[in-house]
Amino acid sequence: MSKGPTHTKHGITRRRMLQGVGATGVIAVSGCLGGDTDAPIDVRLEVNSDNDDRVQMVDLIASSLEETGYFDVEIEDYEWNDYTARVMDPEYAENGYVPCIGLSGTFNPESFCNALHHSENHGQCCNLNGIDDPELDGMMDDARYGTDVVEDTDLRRERYDEIWEYLAEERYSSITHFDLVASVMTTDVHGFSTYPFSESLFSYGLYAPQDEQVMWIDESAHPDDTDLSDLEEGGTLRIGAAENPDSFDPPYSTDTTSTMVQEFVFESLVRSDVDGNLYPWLAESYDLLEVNDVDRTDYEEYMITVDLNEDGLPETDEQIIVQHPGDDPADGEVRVLTPEEAADAVDDGVFGMQFRYDIREGIEFTNGEELTAEHVVATAERYENSDLSAQTYDSLLHAREVDEYTVDLYAQIPDAEAERELPGLAIHSLEQADLDGDEEVLDPREDTEPIGTGPYVFDEMSDEQYVEYVRNEDYWVTDHGVDSFEWFDGPADFPDGPVIDRLELEIVPDNSTRSGALQDDEVDITYGLNTEDLDGYDDSEDYVVDAIEAGGYEYIQYPMNVEPWDDDRLRQAVNHLIPRESIVENVLNGWARPAWTDLPELAEENGTTDAAALEDDIRPYNEHDPDAAEALIEEVIEDYDLD
């Protein structure tokens, strides 16, 4: 899954979500399915066997289909790596199978439609059944790229509304539900806040690209009586972490725990709140200076031609920023834009967008360096050819120092996501910006402790046992004060800096053991517990469960290149037979949200003009409705002579 800007939302009441969920559906056993029936339509559902929830979900869908008598359902399961290799094979689309898989989305509404449906994503993640709809491709491109959507966010929202409507009609895929991730903490620990970013350490520390800034432990008050004046400074927060952090090096890691620990230390120019709104952070302010109507072929004259090696890879050590969209790899060579030529293009005024960031003066790294434009440029260079280069250079063209405290970031083409994506770099110190990430890694286990500007400082660790951080006594926000943020409109007594002295991560991979450690008061907060345990914590007075929608979702995709699945009525019918409520209730114990539209709350900000109206519109398409399904199937059977 990609590490992308994901989000957190406090206060989703699970009870509310479950209203109206009846005790429908039973968990079917795969063995009962696929018998010798005379059902007119054969369906083969495919799933990876190691994800129990997903397997059960597919079982529920299968039994719902079989109950109608129209379908003869077969379920095949595969080991995960076999499965991904299988479904991402371009030939897979010819089989006529219905695969089920999960993805992780972000604030970007595109992540809930593009990955699944754009023809460019066929043969990779995750247009598995080769959907190739030029009209839809164009709609999705026009909702993100182009001067019009860059300048007019409402237009962008309208375009996404059209996409959701279009998808509801065409129904190439069915998103079943949006995952909730839950952290559980004792009542001693609550009210973590990073105003206005998040109301929970974990919702931010874990699931968002930028993290908590201020937090505290209130040892006495119940969470319902949180009052800033009760705030007690100091203390140690013990976090039960599910995994060892693989890496302390931001451009060289993608796993959750690594992201969490990096965010204690590293910060970015801009941060985003729970709704995806952006706030200047290390930058005091930023502006979009210029937008040019260019597309990627406009870089043609700056591109160099490189040969492809036997694996089909361009033979260059440079970061490839843009590959010419018109080139056919079969020719053995492609034209590419590398960093040096990108700088030339910017010199000549060829670029999509120019953002200017005014960096705050007086921000110090923990090694004493003062943050300047040079740090931003060096950081962008360090992301070249890193594990995150694909994400970073999806939109970034070039970073340029204007003066000591001013830096420009250029986007390749007019891109409505550039404002969020470009400044996502975790800013490095110059001391560490030239570590190559291969031989020289930024890792305390190799005696290189991470240096950042963030609220905490790495203290010590024992691999796979614990990691400890201490408060950054010279944290810049403490010095500047939260009032120094122009946008700050929070409580007057809001603390200026982190108030917890130490963070201790205990690494406990086993879910039950971690749950036991929480009950025995050996950790204060943990996450990733089994859903059946969550109900117990939720009912208890002594614990607080904080469930957030973090962008994860599950979907099945129809083989629309194979008859009779090319008929949208059949796809709509099957979609009506997906028991979304039953899946959420029976498989996930209520710890998820049925996907009544393809757009989760996470991405609503830019993904629709009116979320409630959108749901009213689209939900009827996605309701469990066997009668509507039957009517549609009868028509299909007749037209295709399927008896």
Partner: protein, 318 residues
């Protein structure tokens, strides 16, 4: 053949066995679908097939298998087990750090098993058919049947959450060799040793009961030796032969059991490491741990053979 020659011969025979272990390990790991790159990339819309191929080439995973094996074996012989893909750490460093944890836990479990099983077995054999025998057989059967992970969780529930004598997590900042750690070994040690104790006790009971029926026992008793001397000096020594063999063989069970027990008790040994490695498809780490485990088991079996010879001078080695 003298005992010394026998030991030397057994030592030499380890070489082809270990070679076999290395081939099987390598083959199993590489025949299993998926490699670390699959795991690292996962399902990521930003990563193209070309990016993946590039990563594979970087780690030499695109070479033919036999070549990968030779490279790996060559490195292993010089003590280089390669790196962990995700973190870039040296595998040998990880093994050296984790191995003592598992060995200490294993020894504790083993000592616990023997300390329970041998007296219990003797007692049951001497009182064969009586109530005490029935009770001990009941516990032996339970001990064999109870799955490790369940027993571990129950011990945590009782020992840590109900009577609160132990913490759920062993103290991660205490060095392993601190005497205090003995206390924290109790629950995982019991968990890992229970099944072994049950098997050993059953064998002890059976072989002891068998020995007790032999003529020399009647003779010893007829000579007027006290029953205690008969049982503990003559019978015990003879019945121990099969127990020693079993106990050594059970080393394998202890090592295998440590995988589950270390996860449940959050004990930072090789077993927990192996599970993490398998989940992440860290093939270098999986191969190194498997190879080490293989070596441990081979050595344990060798010790069993030697002890067997020492305990029973009638045994001749050809």
């Amino acid at each position: 053949m003298s005992l010394r020659r026998f030991v030397l011969k057994r030592l030499l025979s380890i070489v082809p066995i270990l070679f076999g272990v290395s081939v099987v390990t390598f083959a199993l790991v590489h025949l299993t679908p998926g490699d670390p790159i699959d795991q690292m990339v996962g399902v990521n819309p930003h990563v193209t097939a070309a990016d993946e191929a590039q990563l594979r080439a970087r780690y030499g995973l695109d070479e033919p298998l036999w070549q990968q094996y030779l490279t790996w074996m060559g490195n292993v012989l010089t003590g280089d087990f390669g790196q962990v893909y995700s973190s870039g750490l040296d595998v040998s460093g990880i093994i050296l750090m984790r191995l003592p944890e598992t060995v200490v836990l294993g020894i504790f479990g083993w000592v616990f098993a023997l300390a329970i099983a041998i007296p219990a077995g003797i007692y049951a054999a001497v009182n064969k058919g009586e109530f005490a025998d029935t009770v001990s057989r009941f516990f032996a059967l339970s001990g064999i049947s109870i799955p490790n992970f369940w027993l571990g969780l129950m011990l945590i529930l009782i020992g840590a959450l109900i009577i609160d004598l132990w913490p759920v997590l062993p103290p991660s900042r205490q060095p392993l060799y601190h005497p205090e750690m003995l206390w924290y070994l109790v629950l995982p040690g019991i968990t890992i040793g229970t099944a072994a104790a049950a098997s050993i006790m059953r064998v002890m009971r059976t072989s002891m009961a068998e020995e007790l029926n032999k003529e020399y026992v009647t003779a010893a008793r007829a000579k007027g030796l006290p029953e205690r001397t008969v049982v503990l000096k003559h019978v015990l020594r003879n019945s121990l032969i099969s127990v020693v063999t079993l106990a050594a063989t059970l080393t394998a069970t202890l090592v295998a059991g440590s995988v589950v027990v270390e996860v449940v008790f959050n004990w930072p040994g090789l077993g927990r490491e192996l599970i993490e490695a398998i989940n992440a498809r860290e093939i270098n780490l999986i191969m190194a741990i498997t190879l080490f485990t293989g070596v441990l088991i081979v050595i344990a079996n060798m010790i069993a053979d030697v002890l067997y010879a020492a305990l029973d001078p009638r045994i001749r080695y050809e």
